[in-house]
Amino acid sequence: ILTQTLFSPPEFVDILEDKRHCNDLRFAFRTFSPPPYKGAPACSSAELNQAVLESQYLRYVIKEVALETESSVEEVRDKVCKIMWEMSQNLQLRFIRLMAFTFRKVFKRLFSAIYVNMEGLQALQQATQEFPVILMPNHRSYIDFLVVSYILFNYDIPVPVIAAGIPLAGMKIVGEILRRSGAFFIRRAIGSDKLYWAVLSEYVRTIVRTGFAPLEFFVEGLRSRTLKSLPPKLGMMNMILEPFFKGEVYDITLLPISISYDRVLEESLLAHELLGVPKPRESTAGLLKASKVLQENYGCMHVNFGRPLSVRQLCEGKINRCQYNLIPRDLPQKPNAEAQACGSWLAHMIVRLQEEGALTSPWSLMACILLQVPTTVLTEEGLLFHQLTEQTLWLRQLALDFRAHLSWPDSDVMSSTVALHRSVVYRKAGRVYLTRNDELERKHSIVPEDDMMRTAAAFLMLASYRNQCLHVFVRPALLALAMSIRKSTRKDELLTCFCFLQEVFSNEFVFIPGKSSQDFDEACSLLHECKAVHVSQWEVTDSDTGLEVLSFLQELLKPFIESYQLMFRFLCEERDCVFREKDFLSGVRTLATKLIVSGELHTYEALSSDMQKNVLSSLRRLGAIIKIEISENNEYKVNKSAVRRTGDMLGKCSKSPPPRSHQHPDIFWVFFIFFSCCSWKNPSADCPGCT
């Protein structure tokens, strides 16, 4: 542990090693005296709820809803009270202490260290005194949920109220403990429930307005099953920004927090979930059962508190606040296009900052390497350990060139990393093999599909760990991909292709909307700096020394290309133009399984339900499929020629499915531009087969 401390970036401090509070109990009962918020007097949870219930805004909405539903105001008011009762937090220091006590015990067992950057904490402590603070961590594990509160309690910073999913509230006892530790609970599918939206938004706004406590929420909306950043959800973001836009607070501080795990507690659960095994419902019993995960070691955890961001500064010139002057601020008012764009930009930027603040682990780099090795090598022959080591070190240098923050503990890092992840790989006689679940018991499985599922789970775990560092490489990789697809050196053509790839993969990788050309420039300069390409004013050409980097980057995205191509092919080969989401998922799964077993498909990621759903949203965005609104089963209508064209544009870089022959590849691009223009205007006009 000492060496780890030495080699971790200097500003990080291990809070578990903190000698001042050796005794857990004494730690839990430490004097907690955060500096008070200067903006408004402190108020209790009950007063907060009262303020929400009595707000002009809710009174107005209650009357409206009563009129619409032809019920009495009292009835609607009762509903509001029920919603509040279900939603509201009840933050109490006693429970924070209880939480701190338990967590300390648990954390000490699970993690060898929890690193926190002190500089970030000091800035945060300062910020909490000035303006309402919004803590915005990424969400990779259930652990994220209270770890921030734990750290803040440790360092005399006001503990936050936390937006949580309603299933957590349903857990016996635990739900109540969470509530008293500051969690408030939000229903999952709110849809068009006007009353619920009203209560929720007023509750959130009141917390911000009164500076009740820092507000913590996951801008990605939910836990990322793939350990990749998710496109941000904007509803909460817009609610939070409103008090600033309306001048009710002078400023709001946004604080991105990057939580990085060496090993994620839920790793195998996630992989199975992606393979279609339903997630166990959150329950206290389940939690107790899960306690066997406590037996294992999960390495280190890094919590990197980002620089506090002033909403006021960021929004300068982007928002005309006068627009709120002509309507009473208490009345419901949908954010206009300008405000929404601003919220979306901020949310995406936060995700980017979370990515930049994340620490890349050696294991994540290893996963990149391992996924580029032929499957059979990992499952049968085994990969030479020293080969893995060498390549990982090579990749480490590339990651550093691409400005990644690494957590690179000590010289023995390779062995200890492999040892830590024995759930995925193991080392035997100088070679590395894939660990397959229950391998010893069912060694001689008769059904190849069963065997395949076990391999798939391991591969999806690997893929998830690769995803942890994907953000480091994604921009240069998209450029490398564009270069191989277009076979062109002209910058403008590459940019068009780059944008197209961003568009197709915008559910896979998060990019700030409207910043494609900056992303492109960034990719150019990163590749240029590591001498993989030459960049001139009009051209990007690959250099002799850059082949290794470029082909690595192309290979890195290959699973995505192959999986997308496969699903496009599936859609085009279907007889019908209308399909149900359920049938699509199972159909793709069957096809992919078949192709993997036959050796035609080289990636297991096509089996991931996450990627399957992403393909659907991507095609919807491109206008190649249309959701049929009237249907309850998520039915889609497909425009096969559009899907085929999109597939063709993804290029011939993958071997399967076989590319269709076209004499004039440039025609695709004309098509793409033309097609994306018209498909936005009239998405339903382009399906000749089905009417």
Partner: protein
């Protein structure tokens, strides 16, 4: 009158040999008094150091020679209207009381000034002057009391024509009082305090009392849409004016009768009120009210924002101070003082007083008595003198005001004050600025809020520019928070 500062030459704040703050002269209730807290307040709030004193440069020789339009001068002579092109007359009328104007004067910098000054004696003189000005292509700038804070008196430096300042100070008579209709016909040059004194002699008043009423003129009030401290009882200038006669280059505008309200298209008065310096002369009639004995009182409330309140407590005598700060537990630095003036018939005053005191009691406030009220009321008149004291010690400051709906008052106060502090820091101001505010006028639908902003400018190369940048930012903040650009100062600057 001072030529490079506010008000009477004999009245000023200074620090005497013992280092105590003193207000000189005999004109005000504060005159001759020692203000014990002021020194500490200046030092504490601005980091001002009494050792560092600026020296105003008095140099009138820098004034450029007048550029006269000979033909105009010749014809003017034949009318017999008095005029002058002496340097000091011209400099005196070349500025209002914007910070940059006074700062430049104290620095000895004199830019473009009027080339001559004329003193019309009556309405017909004004008509003649305007005719001649049109005929000979001469610029006219009307001048009343010289208290403008909208740069309306500034001569455009690029102006090549001869500039003539039309000083209305000689048109200062009440022509008649109509006791049946409670109106009076008054010339535009009359200064507020004279108007009030003369009306009082006949048992009337207008009730229009802007902070500048000692110096500002009736014509100026109309030209800027002025508002006074007693507006809740008497109304703003637009409520007081019944009839206006205005001389324009194209002739004289006036209504044909004195009916209190008309419904014949848009009210022509509303093109005139607030038109800021575009007018030449205004003659008008005011509502009069019975003038009654008034009583005055004062209330303070806890937990609001601290401004000049520590000065207030320094006035309190020992026992009272002990009672307020120790017994009642008010912190002199976090005390909020409200000066309230009750005016009208005795019953009404008592009734009002009771209502207000009841509200105050509900929020932990208490009445501080009439004496303090009188002093507090007086403070509003001497605040401008404080600005000059500050300038002696490297402190510059200004006030600006806005009107805003009630629900936004607290938000706008907080946000604008915070913005000022933030901007000062960004612009390199070395000392924490004074950034405070008060509500001065109230309406059913909102209130007028005054912001006071001042800072110690030692270490800055161009303090006025910094000041203007910060004020601009503050105004931007006001607009973004649903406030107006101005409630009554006028808005041609910024």
């Amino acid at each position: 009158m001072k030529w490079n500062g506010w008000g009477y030459s004999d009245s000023r704040f200074l620090f005497n040999k013992k280092g105590q703050a003193e207000f000189t002269g005999k004109r005000y209730r504060l005159s001759g008094m020692i203000i014990p807290g002021l020194k500490d307040w200046m030092e504490g709030t601005f980091g001002a150091n009494l050792q560092h004193k600026t020296q105003p440069v008095l140099n009138t020789s820098a004034v450029q020679p007048p550029m006269l339009n000979e033909a105009f001068v010749e014809e003017l002579k034949s009318t017999g209207i008095p005029f002058s092109h002496e340097a000091d007359d011209r400099v005196f009328r070349a500025h209002g009381h914007c910070l940059h104007e006074i700062f430049a004067l104290r620095d000895g910098k004199i830019g473009r000034v009027p080339d001559m000054v004329v003193w019309p004696n009556c309405h017909n003189d004004v008509v003649k002057i305007v005719e001649l000005a049109c005929k000979h292509n001469v610029c006219l700038i009307p001048y009343g009391g010289g208290t403008s804070v909208s740069s309306a008196l500034e001569c455009p430096p690029e102006e090549t024509r001869s500039i003539v300042s039309l000083d209305t100070s000689q048109m200062n008579r009440i022509l008649w009082i109509d006791e049946k209709n409670l109106t009076a016909h008054v010339e535009s040059g009359i200064v507020g305090q004279d108007l009030e004194r003369l009306l009082n002699e006949s048992g009337y008043c207008t009730g229009h009392e802007p902070d500048s009423m000692e110096f500002s003129s009736l014509g100026g009030w109309v030209a800027t849409r002025a508002s006074g401290m007693k507006k809740n009882i008497y109304g703003n200038i637009e409520d007081l004016v019944v009839h206006i006669k205005m001389v324009t280059p194209r002739g004289v505008i006036e209504k044909s009768c004195q009916g209190p309200r008309m419904s014949t298209g848009p009210d022509i008065h509303h093109f005139i009120l607030g038109s800021e310096g575009l007018l030449t002369a205004i003659i008008k009639i005011l509502y009069l009210r019975d003038h009654e004995k008034y009583s005055e009182s004062l209330i303070d409330m806890q937990k609001l924002y601290h401004g000049l309140s520590s000065i207030f407590t320094s006035f309190l005598d020992g026992l009272k101070k002990f009672y307020i700060t120790k017994f009642k537990g008010f912190d002199p630095n976090r005390l909020c003082v409200a000066t309230l003036l009750f005016e009208g018939a005795r019953e009404k005053v008592l009734q009002h007083e009771k209502q207000v005191y009841d509200i105050a009691a509900k929020f932990g406030g208490l009445a501080a008595g009439e004496d303090n009220g009188q002093r507090g009321y007086m403070l509003t008149f001497v605040i401008a003198y404080l600005r000059d004291l500050g300038m002696d010690y490297y402190v510059i400051g200004e006030s600006f005001e806005t009107s805003v709906p009630w629900d936004r008052v607290l938000d706008i106060c907080r946000n604008v004050k915070a913005r000022i502090i933030r901007e000062c820091k960004d612009k390199g101001v070395q000392f924490p600025p004074l950034s405070t505010c008060r509500v001065t006028q109230t309406y059913d639908a909102g209130a007028c809020v005054y912001f006071y902003f001042a800072f110690n400018y030692r270490g800055l190369s161009d303090p006025v520019h910094v000041y203007e940048q910060v004020e601009h930012a503050a105004r931007e903040e006001i607009l973004a928070n649903g406030g107006s650009l101005s409630h009554h100062h006028g808005g041609t600057t910024s």
